[in-house]
């Protein structure tokens, strides 16, 4: 009797598994694992599908329709309407300008603050708490504070008038309007970004820094040659978050200035919001898709740059 025959005659718990049985058992295990993964992932997946992908698909569909009720295929008419719309162009410019100003400022200032606090300054915890407080203030309160300060009859005009005899300026309806909003943005987001940088600075290996010191590297050299590399991914993360937050500033701008603010405060979200109010869904959808494509492009570039610098850090 050969080995196989002997094996087959043994009781099941004593018998050795054949190759086929081993493969079968492997497949069953794999399926079970997949099943477990799927079961845990399904709720999140369904949520993302229902609240993100499906609306995105609907948005895409409506952007090619005449209107939300009239489902005739409109080709790229809506996109042309949006891309040639003066209000959309103006809103895009303002949004881009604000992002180009706000994001670098938010990152650089936060980093500088983090470096300062990380340098052994006394009262670091206290300063960190103070700088984080703006994040906890409700939006309505922020708006109220800014109105009190920057309105035509506000505190700032009062101070400037009394101290320097300057004429009052309607800050939110002037060419300085974006500066006012920039201040609001920085004030609100600085603390959070600084905390992220502080955490990242705390994770830099001290022996690398120490050895650089012993080798005679200056503080600037140490920062640019060592710390910056380790902070690379955090800078990228803070930049992305700041970019997202620069769009969210619409909320405060809307509460301060309404549906139709002064021209340099008119953002893409104003355009979207007004289109929504007027139920011009096809224009709204086309605008949203255009914005989405641009954002994907920007983020794609950022990810590419990040991946390149990240790999050099690993090396």
């Amino acid at each position: 009797m050969d080995k196989e025959a002997i094996n087959n005659n043994l009781k099941p718990h004593l018998r050795k598994a054949t190759a086929a049985e081993k493969r079968r058992a492997h497949n069953i295990r794999k399926i079970k694992e997949w099943g477990t993964f799927t079961a845990y992932l399904t709720p999140s997946f369904v949520g993302v599908l229902v609240f993100f992908f499906v609306p995105l698909l609907m948005l895409l569909k409506i952007s090619f329709q005449k209107s939300s009720a009239n489902t005739d295929f409109a080709g790229i008419t809506n996109y042309l309407r949006v891309l040639t719309n003066d209000a959309f162009i103006s809103a895009s410019k303002n949004t881009l300008t604000f992002a180009l100003l706000a994001v670098p400022l938010a990152v650089i200032l936060a980093l500088l603050l983090a470096l300062l606090l990380n340098s052994g300054l006394p009262g670091k915890s206290l300063f960190r708490s103070i700088l984080l407080n703006p994040m906890t203030v409700p939006v309505a309160s922020i708006v109220l504070i800014w109105q009190v300060f920057f309105s035509y009859n506000g505190v700032l005009n009062g101070l400037l008038g009394d101290l320097f005899g300057l004429k009052s300026t309607d800050w939110l309806k002037s060419d300085y309007a974006q500066v006012v909003i920039l201040l609001l943005f920085i004030w609100k987001n600085l603390g959070y970004n600084m905390v992220l940088f502080l955490a990242a600075l705390g994770n830099i290996p001290t022996e690398v820094i120490e050895s650089a010191k012993m080798d005679g590297a200056s503080a600037l050299k140490r920062f640019f040659s060592i710390k910056l590399y380790y902070l690379n991914s955090t800078i990228f993360f803070v930049g992305i978050m700041s970019l997202i937050n620069s769009f969210k500033i619409f909320r405060e701008v809307y509460l301060l200035t309404g549906d139709y603010p002064y021209e340099n405060l008119y953002m893409l979200q104003h355009f979207m919001n007004n289109a929504f109010t007027h139920l011009d869904y096809s224009k709204l959808s086309a605008g949203a898709i255009v914005m989405c494509v641009v954002m994907i492009g920007i983020l794609g570039v950022l990810f590419f740059v990040e991946s390149k610098t990240d790999s050099s850090v690993e090396e």
Partner: protein, 825 residues
């Protein structure tokens, strides 16, 4: 594995993208023609319907030229008759007045008439010559009929007689026997009320109770209150003194009595210095309590518009139909929807409810007209009975909405169309009415309320709502008065009506005042066909103007006010904001170019703003309204005034009753270029671009442009757009005025006429040509984008108050308002 994952993700992305585009493409393949978003709804046989009858009640004096006026008032409805109170007056001649024994009472006509249910007069009781004697058997110095009403199933006529001896008023009641139709003996109504107590209403409430209300106003006391004298069926009287029950309440008026049940009566009270209150009178316990009727207020029901029937039930009658107030369940129940029966809502909107037996409704309405120099009222009885099937089954429903108010002519046109159209049935909706929206909001008014800004905000809201619904395919098929809503003048919302006005269907622009139609266009498209219009300007004497002057520049206006108006601004009734909006609207073409670009950075705008700042106040002081009216009849000195010529009557009135000797002309409002008067489109009509029955809607629009409908619009005080309708009505108006002038000539001497500013010479026919000349001189239509207007009113006050320079304000307004225009694409 990595390659496998990349393939999966690529396939997934590609399938999503191409699938979506492909699906939308498939839509195009399936639909070969553009389909509007709206859907055509047809009337089903089972849809509710009420058969209606309309019976005219003749007074019997229709052809009598000796009658000055006749009116009719409902007293009661019995099982087999309508009982009416007819009252009027004979014409009085000059000789009659000069007669020493002249007494107005001798010229009064007072009758009770019984009509069968089909409107035939069956019996009449003339009590015009009834003489009431005092306790000494002598006739009173004067006796007048207060009213005739139903009481306990009989007709009771109430008289007020003046006693010369006591110099007081004495009340009498005369009962008419319901069987014999004969007058009973006059019975004096004893008044045992104290000084400063005034008897008001005596009504039947509950099950045979009589409630007499007495208003109290103690001398020297600013508090008002009431006493209720309640007499039960046995004749026992209970007195409730509200000043003791509710000493803190200052009750100004109780004149509505609502039978909630057989034992409860709701008494809405108008209070002095506080919100209106409701009291509930319990007829079993004779207790009065305050009740909360907030649910009625929440349903936008006003107590003062409720109708109670003698046999019970409380109803709301408005232009949409009749609803019953169910106090027990605190709800409003539909009784009759006018959409379920073809009625001329211009007649029934003000009709009074006579009876409701649970299914059929009986109402009485009145129409009036001037026949020569006689005022005539004609009364109708309307009966609505539920039908088993809907006779309009199969017809397509066309919904029509107005953004402002409904005119009687429009309602009549809808009624006539529904009577004659075999394919379509028009149903009005108030969903987008600015006035309905206003009433639904809890606006609080105070001395700082900016009504102009509020009006613009409401218009903007309604315009947005309508635009949203049109795009969603849920809006009306026909839109009336959309011309002042610039947002809607867009091919997405409204059809270009030029496609219908090409003469192929019997209607062309040549039949209309084409200058008005051209001015109403938006670019090359006509989204709203003007039906009627008014013309606005300043009526001024030609001698006070320069040769060829048709309007005023800002400087000319300032000079004119100083030199010709003695400093009194013809536009003094406008606040600063109102004046700005008026003048801006009249010259809006200067500030918005054909590409839709807003251009305010010019001298024209600066001059306009400065003119308003320097010549108008923020709010109009009360004394201006107290001192004078817009146009004072009988004025001996001609005063230049703002004049709105709704129709030729307004123009002729200034000839007949003003100090206008025929040389006054209508000039334009102050403007940059001294342009002539502008037209304001009073009524316009458009067809939704998303209507599934656009051609059907056109058949209705066409009916509005018929001569019959246009003449009806003219009688609603508006200039018709149809030339033939203008010609027909202008001569009729002139003839009517000349008839009045002829009558005046018999009553007034030349000196008296000069003193009172009354014309004695006939108005010449050339006046019609003058008026037509004004119409044909119109080259622009007043209009303003309400959203832009709101921004203007938001920003300008900063300049008016000196906070900002004009350049700063212009910059802000242009920036914000241009965004609105640009967004619309």
């Amino acid at each position: 594995m990595r390659i496998f994952k990349k393939v999966i993700s690529t396939v997934l992305t590609g399938s999503i993208l191409f699938g979506v585009i492909g699906l939308t493409g498939c839509e195009k393949l399936k639909q070969l023609i553009n389909t509007p978003a709206g859907t055509a709804v047809k009337i089903a046989e089972t849809d509710p319907w009420f058969d209606s009858t309309r019976v005219q009640l003749d007074t019997g004096y229709e052809d009598n030229d000796e009658v000055e006026y006749m009116s009719m008032q409902n007293i009661m409805v019995t099982d087999d008759s309508f009982v009416m109170y007819l009252y009027g007056m004979w014409k009085i001649s000059e000789a009659d007045i000069e007669d020493p024994s002249f007494d107005y009472a001798d010229y009064m006509i007072s009758e009770i008439a019984w009509y069968s249910l089909d409107g035939v007069k069956q019996d009449t009781l003339d009590f015009s010559s009834l003489q009431i004697l005092d306790d000494n058997g002598n006739p009173y110095a004067a006796c007048y009929v207060n009213n005739a009403k139903e009481f306990g199933g009989n007709v009771v006529i109430s008289y007020s007689c003046y006693d010369e001896t006591s110099m007081s008023k004495v009340l009498y009641e005369v009962t008419v026997d319901s069987q014999t139709h004969e007058l009973g003996e006059p019975v004096k109504v004893e008044s045992n009320y104290a000084e400063n107590e005034y008897a008001e209403n005596s009504v039947e409430v509950g099950d045979g109770y009589i409630l007499q209300t007495v208003w109290m106003s103690p001398e020297g006391d600013e508090n008002f209150s009431y006493k209720f004298y309640i007499t039960d069926p046995s004749g026992n009287t209970t007195i409730i003194d509200m000043s003791r029950e509710f000493p803190e309440d200052n009750i100004y008026d109780i004149s509505t009595f609502i039978n909630v049940s057989e034992t409860e009566v709701l008494l809405p009270a108008s209070m002095d210095g506080s919100d209106d209150t409701c009291y509930m009178l319990n007829l079993d316990t004779f207790e009065v309590t305050k009740v909360d009727m907030q649910w009625l207020s929440d349903a936008n029901v006003s107590f003062w518009n409720l109708t109670t029937l003698p046999d019970g039930g409380c109803f709301i009658c408005d232009e949409d139909g009749i609803k019953k107030v169910d106090f027990e369940n605190e709800e409003i129940v539909d009784v009759l929807d006018y959409g379920a029966c073809n009625v001329d809502r211009s007649e029934v909107s003000y009709a009074s409810l006579l009876s409701y037996d649970g299914s059929s409704v009986v109402m009485m309405g009145t129409t009036s007209e001037n026949v020569g120099t006689t005022y005539r009222e004609t009364s109708f009885i309307y009966t609505y009975t539920p039908a088993e099937t809907n006779p309009n089954a199969g017809k397509t429903i066309l919904s029509i909405a107005t953004l402002d108010n409904w005119s009687a002519a429009l309602y009549t046109a809808i009624y006539n169309f529904n009577q004659t159209s075999s394919d379509y049935y028009v149903i009005p909706t108030n969903e987008y009415s600015a006035s309905e929206y206003y009433e639904s909001q809890d606006y609080e008014d105070n001395e700082d309320t900016d009504y102009q800004a509020r009006a613009l905000e409401i218009k903007s809201t309604m315009s947005n709502q309508l635009a949203i619904d049109i795009m969603a395919g849920e809006g009306p098929d026909i839109i009336v008065n959309g011309s002042s809503y610039a947002q809607l003048s867009n091919p997405d919302y409204l059809i270009d009506m030029n496609t219908y006005l090409n003469g192929e269907d019997g209607v062309s622009r040549d039949q209309m005042f084409t200058n008005i139609v051209d001015a109403a266009q938006t670019g090359d498209a006509l989204f709203n066909v003007p039906l009627t219009y008014s013309m606005e300007g300043i009526l001024a004497l030609q001698d006070t103007l320069e040769d060829g002057q048709i309007g005023f520049t800002f400087d000319q206006m300032v000079e004119f006010i100083d030199e010709e108006c003695n400093g009194s601004n013809p536009l003094q009734y406008f606040s600063r904001n109102e004046a700005f909006i008026y003048c801006f609207s009249a010259m809006s073409d200067v500030f918005v170019d054909s590409d839709g670009k807003l251009n305010l950075d010019n001298d024209d705008f600066v001059n306009l703003v400065n003119f308003c700042r320097d010549n108008f106040l923020e709010t109009v002081p009360e004394y201006i309204y107290e001192d004078s009216m817009y146009y004072e009849e009988g004025a001996t000195t001609f005063q230049p005034t703002l004049q709105n010529l709704y129709n030729i009557d307004s123009y002729l009135s200034s000839y007949a009753y003003g100090a206008n000797d025929g040389t006054a002309i209508l000039c334009g409002l102050p403007s940059n270029d001294g342009r002539g008067p502008v037209a304001t489109i009073e009524y316009s009509v458009g067809i939704s671009a998303q209507s599934a029955s656009a051609d059907g809607a056109w058949t209705f629009v066409k009916s509005l442009l018929s001569e019959e409908a246009q003449i009806d619009f003219e009688s609603d005080y508006s200039n018709p757009i149809l030339i033939s309708a203008f010609d027909a009505t202008a001569q009729e108006s002139l003839d009517s005025y000349n008839e009045s002038i002829e009558t005046n000539a018999a009553y007034y001497t030349e000196e008296e006429a000069r003193e009172y500013g009354i014309r004695l010479d006939p108005i010449p026919d050339t006046v019609i040509d003058d008026y037509r000349g004004i119409i044909e001189s119109i080259s622009s239509v007043s209009g303003m984008d309400s959203a832009v207007g709101s921004i203007l009113l938001e920003e300008l006050p900063a300049y008016f108050e000196g906070q900002k320079t004009i350049d700063e304000v212009i910059s802000i307004i242009t920036s914000r308002a241009q965004t609105i225009i640009d967004e619309r694409g």
